[in-house]
Amino acid sequence: MIDWIIILQAGVASGTVLLFAAIGEILAERSGVMNLGVEGMMLIGAMTAFKTVVMGGDPWLGVLYAMLAAGALSLLHALVTINFQADQVVSGLAINFVGIGLSTVLGEGLSKAGTVSLLPSYTVPLLSQIPLIGPIFFTNQHVLVYVGYVLTPAAWFYINRTRPGLHLRAVGEYPAAADALGINVYLLRYLYVLIGGLLAGLAGATISLAVSPGWFSELTTSGQGWIAIGLVIFAQWDPWRGAAGGYMFGAIRRLILDLQGPEFLFGFRNPFFYTPKLGFFLQMLPYALTILVLVAVSREALRKRLGAPAALGTPYIRGERGI
C-alpha cells in the first residue's frame, strides 16, 4: 500500500534540493540576471561535495567546497554577461556544458567509491509530536532540510522587507534609476549571481551527501536544475511559492518510485507492477508536469498582469538608453 506520510516526508527531503536551487535563482533573477546554468552548477556542487568526502573530508567541508565550486562557475557567468554583455541565455547554456563536462572529468571513478560518511539526520523533539506536520517535516530529516526551513522565510523577508532587498529589486526592475540613486548595479548583480551559484552548489551537495548519496555523473541531477528554473517562473519570483513547489515536485519524485512497487493499488492490480515498461511513462511525469505548471502560471500571469523582473535578461550599460 502507498504510505502518503512517507511520500510527503521524502518529498520534503528531496524537495529541499529544488528549494535551494530555486531560491538561488530567484535572487539572481530578481537582480536582472538569468542564469540557466543551474543544472551544471548543481552537478559541479554534487561532484565536489562527494569527492571531498570520498577523499576523507568532513561532509560539512564537502558542502562548503561544493558551494565555492559552483559559486566560482557562476562568477564566470557574471563576468561574461555583466561585463561583456553577452546573451544571458547562451552564457547560461555554456555554464551548463562546462558544469556537465568538468564534473564528468573530475568525477572520474567516483561512482565506484564505497560507503562514505554523509550529512546527519535529526528528529526535532516536541515538534515531531504534532500530528501530520510532525512526521512529515520534523522526523528523521537530514540537516539541510532544516536549513531550508530557515532560508525560505529569510529570503522572503530579505527581498521584501529590508533596504538591501529593496536595492536588489530596484536593480532588477529599473537599473538606470537604481544607478542614479548611487546603487552599484554591477556589484549587486555580481553578488546575487554569486549567491545563486552558492545555493546551486548547496543544492548539488544536498543530492550527493543526503538525498541520494553518490555520484552518477549526469544522472545525479537528471534535470532537476531545469525543473528549478521552471519553478522560479511557477513561483513568480517568490521564495515561499518556490519552496512549496520544490516540496511538491520532491513528493512527486518519490510517488513515482513508490507507484512501481506494490502489487495492488487502491484494490486494483497495479499496471506498473505487472508491466514494468509502463514505468517510462511515470518517468515522464515530472517533466510533463513542469510544462503543464508553466502553462497554468503564464495564463495566470497574463490575466493578473504579473511578470518577471522588468530588466531580466538585459545587460545594463551605463549611459545607454533603455531600462
Binding site: 540557466l36 551544471g40 564566470l76 563576468l79 561574461v80 561585463n83 561583456f84 554583455q85 553577452a86 546573451d87 541565455v89 547562451v90 552564457s91 547554456l93 555554456a94 555554464i95 551548463n96 556544458f97 562546462v98 558544469g99 556537465i100 563536462g101 568538468l102 564534473s103 564528468t104 572529468v105 573530475l106 568525477g107 572520474e108 555523473s217 537528471s222 534535470g223 531545469w226 528554473i229 521552471g230 517562473i233 515498461k277 509502463l278 517510462f280 511513462f281 518517468q283 515522464m284 517533466y287 510533463a288 513542469t290 510544462i291 508553466l294 502553462v295 503564464s298 495564463r299 500571469a301 497574463l302 550599460i317 549611459g319 545607454e320
Partner: protein
C-alpha cells in the same frame, strides 16, 4: 553606445603619482571588418583548447598528447576523416535547427529530444511496420525521412505553440520535451520493438539503410571502407535551404527582423505568432531529420544510446558559426572530429568539457567585435 570611454590603467594615488607607460583605450566599434569575425572565432577556439589543456593537465592527463591524439584520430587519414564526416552529419542538421530558431531569438534547446523523435518516427516506418520490409529503397528512405521530419516537427510544435499562444518560456518547455522523448523512445525499445528482450530493436532491412560510399567500392576503388552516407548530402542540401530561407527569402527577413527587434517586427505587421510556430516546427523537423539520418545511415536499428548529445552540441555549433548556415558545416566537422576522437580519450568527459569551454570563449570573445580595445603609449 555613443559615449566613448577611456580607462586609465593607473591607481589614483596622492603624492607621487605612479604612471604606467601606456593606457588601455576601450571604445565601441562603429564598423566591424569582415575578416575579424571569423578570426575571433578561431582565436576563441584556440583559447578554449589552451584552457581545456590546463584542466586536462590538472586532472592528471597530458594535454599535448591528448590533442595530437584527437587530431590524428579525427583528421589523420581519409578513413578517419570519413568517420569524422559521419559524426558531423547529424551535427550539421541539429546545428541548422538551432541556427534557424536562434535567428528569431527562439531558444529551441530541445534538438536532442527532436533528434530522438525523428529517429523514432523513422523507425516506426520500418518496425511498426508502416511499410513492408520489401518496399524498394526509393520509397522506403523518403518515407522514413518524412516520418522523422514530421515527428521532430511535432516535438518542436509543442514548445512553439505554447510560446506563441500562452507566452510560455520555450527554453524550459523544449528542454523538458527532451526527457519525455528519451523515455518515449525507451518505452518502445524495451517493449514492442525489443528484439528478443534486448534493449534494442531488430536490425533494419537493407532497403532502410542510407547508401554509403563504401557500397560503391566495386565501381570506384577509392570508396572502399569509406563510411560517409547519403545523410551528409542531406545535411549540405539542408544548409543551402536554410541559408536561402534566412538570407534570401522574405520569410527569412521576417525571422531576422523579429529576432533583432521584435517591437519593430510587430509594428511592421509581421505575424509573430504564426512565425513562432512555423520556425519551431521547421527547427524541430531538421533535428528530426538528423535522428533519421543517424539511425538509417549509421546505427541501422533503434536503441537507447543513439546520441552522444548531438542536439546539445548543435547549440554550440550554431553559436560558433555565428548563426550562418554554411559556417555550421565547418563547425560541425570540427565538433564531429572532437566527438569521434573523444571516445578514446581519458577521462571520458573531456569532449563535453571542451565543447562548453569553446562556447564560453566564443561568446566572451564577442566583446572584441563590439569594442575596440587598444593599448596606446602615453
Amino acid at each position: 553606445m555613443r559615449v566613448s570611454t577611456t580607462t586609465p590603467l593607473q591607481p589614483q594615488t596622492h603624492g607621487e603619482p605612479f604612471r604606467l607607460p601606456f593606457r588601455v583605450v576601450i571604445e565601441p566599434r562603429m564598423n566591424v571588418p569582415r575578416w575579424l569575425s571569423p578570426a575571433v572565432s578561431i582565436g576563441a577556439v584556440i583559447l578554449a583548447l589552451v584552457i581545456g589543456g590546463v584542466v586536462i593537465q590538472l586532472a592528471g592527463g597530458d594535454p599535448i598528447e591528448s590533442y595530437i591524439h584527437i587530431f590524428n584520430a579525427a583528421f589523420g587519414d581519409m578513413g578517419v576523416f570519413s568517420d569524422t564526416l559521419v559524426k558531423a552529419t547529424p551535427l550539421i542538421l541539429t546545428g541548422l535547427a538551432c541556427t534557424l530558431a536562434f535567428r528569431m531569438k527562439l531558444w529551441n534547446i530541445g534538438a536532442e529530444g527532436q533528434f530522438f523523435m525523428g529517429a523514432w518516427g523513422a523507425s516506426a516506418v520500418v518496425l511498426a511496420p508502416l511499410l513492408p520490409p520489401t518496399t524498394p529503397r526509393v520509397i522506403m528512405l523518403p518515407a522514413m525521412a518524412l516520418a522523422g521530419f514530421a515527428c521532430g516537427a511535432l516535438w518542436g510544435l509543442v514548445p512553439g505553440f505554447l510560446k506563441a499562444r500562452f507566452n510560455v518560456n520555450e527554453i524550459i518547455t523544449s528542454l523538458m520535451m527532451n526527457y519525455i522523448a528519451t523515455s518515449w523512445t525507451l518505452f518502445w525499445v524495451f517493449g514492442a520493438w525489443s528484439e528478443a528482450g534486448f534493449q534494442m530493436s531488430p536490425t533494419f532491412p537493407k532497403t532502410a539503410w542510407l547508401p554509403r560510399l563504401a557500397d560503391y567500392a566495386q565501381q570506384v576503388k577509392a570508396f572502399s571502407g569509406l563510411t560517409i552516407h547519403l545523410g551528409l548530402a542531406l545535411g549540405i542540401v539542408a544548409a543551402v535551404v536554410v541559408w536561402f530561407i534566412l538570407n534570401r527569402s522574405p520569410w527569412g527577413y521576417e525571422i531576422r527582423l523579429t529576432g533583432d527587434n521584435p517591437r519593430a517586427a510587430r509594428y511592421a505587421g509581421i505575424n509573430i505568432v504564426r512565425n513562432t510556430v512555423l520556425v519551431m516546427m521547421l527547427s524541430g523537423g531538421l533535428a528530426g531529420l538528423a535522428g533519421m539520418s543517424e539511425i538509417s545511415g549509421v546505427v541501422h536499428r533503434l536503441q537507447g544510446a543513439i546520441s552522444p548529445g548531438f542536439g546539445f552540441t548543435g547549440i554550440i555549433i550554431a553559436w560558433l558559426a555565428k548563426l550562418n548556415a554554411f559556417g555550421v558545416i565547418i563547425a560541425a566537422i570540427l565538433f564531429g572530429g572532437l566527438l569521434l576522437a573523444g571516445r578514446e580519450i581519458q577521462p571520458s568527459g573531456v569532449p563535453r568539457m571542451l565543447q562548453g569551454i569553446i562556447l564560453f570563449t566564443v561568446i566572451a570573445s564577442d566583446v572584441v567585435l563590439r569594442y575596440h580595445i587598444r593599448i596606446v603609449k602615453r
